[in-house]
């Protein structure tokens, strides 16, 4: 159920757009209305979620310190894993976001002959990194469809991505990487018993969706060519708010675009929000300086305490007998 439901949901989405475009000719809906709507949902949704997180304060200073603190001047502080100032936090966050620092620590803990042993486990880190970076590069590459003159930086990325110089059109390395990475991320959810046990439909759905997007993209580029000039025309129309539907682009493109739209619209309601969330994680984005600078809790409120006076009242005789000084005789 956890796997089949999201799988068939993605199949259903593909069939839906196929039927909608090929049979009902709903080009306007799938080419213009849904992409716009998805983008609006994405932008408003992400903003709403981030603001919702932001509306809850950070009452306590709770960084997870992963290295030596700043204390005595002759003890070398780990300024990145245990930052005491903003610069350190920026570097720590950059490493987290760009190279998945914490995930890089990953280990495999096993019990062998009555011993707990720790093995190397970098596959998840590698697959995660490969997936996210190739996704980003592919996304950036696609910006060529939205600009009249393709900016040099995008051309540079394209040429790096295709440096193998094989195939016509040139083969992009990221196309293969993303397919392999996403497939791995899916199979580990099925094959590792613990990961299978914790996985939800919400974990499989985005994987299938992204796989669908990648496969339809690859098919379009290398196998079943679509009318590329028309695609650019449609994209330029969308971005300049003068949308139009060019003739004869091909249904594969609409499938691709619809799945992307679904991904965008689904994004704010899903775990994919970890993209924004990672920046707001208080165990990572705070400097470990709570002894140096007082952290303010906006809802700090007075509490009922047992005062020294009450304590002395309880024990005055015993205290005097033991020779302890008292406030009241």
């Amino acid at each position: 159920m956890k796997i089949l439901f999201p799988f068939f949901a993605v199949i259903a989405l593909v069939l839906l757009v196929f039927a909608g475009v090929n049979m009902a000719g709903m080009y306007f809906l799938f080419g213009i209305v849904i992409p716009y709507a998805a983008l609006v949902v994405f932008l408003i949704g992400v903003l709403y979620r981030v603001m919702k997180w932001g509306s809850s304060p950070v009452p306590f200073h709770i960084p997870t310190t992963c290295g030596q603190q700043k204390s005595l001047p002759w003890i070398k502080q780990n300024k990145i894993e245990n930052p005491s100032g903003s610069l350190g936090v920026i570097v720590r966050m950059a490493l987290e976001v760009l190279v998945f620092r914490s995930l890089f620590r990953n280990l495999k803990t096993e019990l062998k002959d009555g011993k707990v042993v720790y093995g190397l486990e970098k596959w998840l880190w590698m697959a995660g990194l490969a997936f996210h970076w190739s996704f980003l590069i592919i996304l950036v590459r696609h910006l060529r469809f939205f600009a009249e003159n393709v900016p040099p930086v995008i051309k540079l990325i394209e040429s790096l991505d295709s440096f193998l110089q094989v195939g016509v059109p040139l083969f992009y390395i990221t196309d293969a990487v993303i397919l392999v990475a996403v497939t791995y991320l899916f199979f580990r959810r099925v094959y590792i018993p613990q990961i299978k046990y914790i996985s939800l439909a919400a974990d499989h759905f985005p994987l299938f969706l992204i796989l669908g997007i990648a496969i339809s993209g690859v098919l379009m580029r290398y196998f079943f060519k679509v009318h590329i000039v028309g695609v650019k025309q449609l994209a330029m129309g969308l971005v300049s708010f003068k949308p139009s539907i060019p003739e004869g682009i091909g249904v594969l493109f609409y499938i691709h675009m619809f799945l992307i739209s679904v991904l965008f619209a689904y994004f704010p309601f899903s775990k994919l929000m970890h993209m924004g969330g990672v920046f707001m994680s208080p165990t990572r984005n705070l400097a470990n300086n709570s002894r140096e600078v007082r952290h303010i809790n906006p809802w700090n409120y007075p509490v009922h305490v047992h005062t020294y006076e009450e304590y002395e009242n309880d024990f005055r005789d015993k205290m005097k007998k033991a020779g302890l000084p008292v406030e009241k005789e």
């Binding site: 159920m1 979620r49 997180w53 809850s56 304060p57 200073h61 709770i62 997870t64 310190t65 992963c66 290295g67 030596q68 005595l72 003890i75 914490s102 995930l103 620590r105 990953n106 280990l107 803990t109 019990l111 009555g114 707990v116 720790y118 998840l124 018993p193 613990q194 990961i195 046990y197 914790i198 996985s199 439909a201 919400a202 974990d203 309601f269 969330g277 990672v278 707001m280 994680s281 208080p282 165990t283 990572r284 470990n288 709570s290 002894r291 140096e292 007082r294 952290h295 303010i296 700090n300 509490v303 305490v305 047992h306 020294y308 304590y311 024990f315 015993k318 033991a322 302890l324 000084p325």
Partner: protein, 536 residues
Amino acid sequence: MAKLEKPEELIKIDYTPHKKDWMDTPVEFKEGMYCWGAKGKDLKILDFPNARDWSPKEEDWKLPENWKDTILEAMADRLSKYRSFRLFMDICVRCGACADKCHFFIGGGDPKNMPVLRAELMRSVYRKYHTTGGKIFGKTAGARELTLDVLKEWWYYFYQCTECRRCSVFCPYGIDTAEITMMGREFMNLLGLNTGWISGPVANCYMKGNHLGLEPHAIMNSIEGMIDDIETITGIRINPSFNRKGAEILFVTPSGDLFADPGTFTCMGYLMLFHELGIDYTWSTYASEGGNFGFFTSNETAKRLNSKIYAEAKRLGVKWIIGGECGHMWRVLSQYMDTWNGPADFLEVPKSPITGTVFDNAKSMKMVHVAEFTADLIKHGKIKLNPGRNDNLKVTYHDSCNTARGMGLLEEPRYIINNVCNHFYEMPDNTIREQTFCCGSGTGLNASENMDLRMRGGLPRANAVKHVRDQHGVNMLANICAIDRATLSASMDYWVPGVKVTGVHELVANALIMKGEKDRETDLRGEPLPGKEGKE
């Protein structure tokens, strides 16, 4: 109580998850895996809700009529008060990197002890009441109703987390299970679902100033006994002061150090060091607890207990505070105290009267860890040490979860140990510093009725000790935590017999050459010093 299995039986651990979905697998209360319920009288002392005697074993938990609303209201409230809570409910992708990082999962194999799934126990309820997907798709979206069974499952598993934060080191988003189980415990506190082992000490601490419930004269008696022992060993009579106004420094340490071996030896270490330095300091019987079991019930309770430290510092008119060796005590002090009960503007920035070092890193909260204080002394050559007196010991060092991951106090204790001992060996890298393993009994789980849980949770740490014992002949496990001193002793006896447990300042005191001391024959434990064997 269920009899604890032998180590060779206990270590046969099955990590295969159940066939059925975890939501369809109801919680099963296993003897030895949980603590007994709270006593009504303790809850009453603290004005806790639903004060009554109760037992988790009974079918009827004697809950208030509207228990469900209470929790759901509290959940909505805390979501709006804690960004950590709201964020960590939302952003987990269930990558599973945390799964095999938890000592309870490693030692027990129960899938609901994978940090991700322990958190999902809470998230599933959050989704049902706070997300669109959860409201519409229910179970398919990983959402479920809050029912009595769910509540019992929460109780069972949120008291199988020591909030050690090891999982948060490995999480790519820094999701901290402690933030989730702390919230879970806070909710259950609203229903009076406390454990006896936590609420008893909390009530004691509230009324008497310390977890053990030592009254003022009992604290003095306890220290008096240590002073006699110190005199026997060193020939020096120490005369500490209590509740003395006008002292320069207030010293606060966990009350565990006053009560039982080997904590008392650590306490003797403080007494000897401070005497030798001649610093102007005082103990307090009112603020006689550094630890804070309130932290394991609710944020408010923790603040109530913690308030005594600053209040007493103010009343006595001291300039700053030194804190003893303790783990969760320092998480609370370093990440919470100043926020709750500060600003401590009536105190001065801590400055060592011996070396003149100003502790700028504690500029605002005004409290220095005794390991920072002592490391500074040694660096400046202000104490005379004979590490040879610890030559019978082969020492390894256990980082407390909280000082490692909630502070980063890693090098100070190592520097001290290396100066007071000649034989120091580190455990494997994946088990120390920020990757250190919990003793298995933190957050108030150090009771006696849950030994099965404790020994399972203690397995990874014990296993690493075993490694250095077999490789280097390590026979002493040093640490800077009062809970560790008590609980690691038990887990060493169980898993690695022959390895003893010590506080770092016990090692310091053994090596410390005091002015006018006699030729010492024994260490603080009354055992012959190296080279003095058979001279009785």
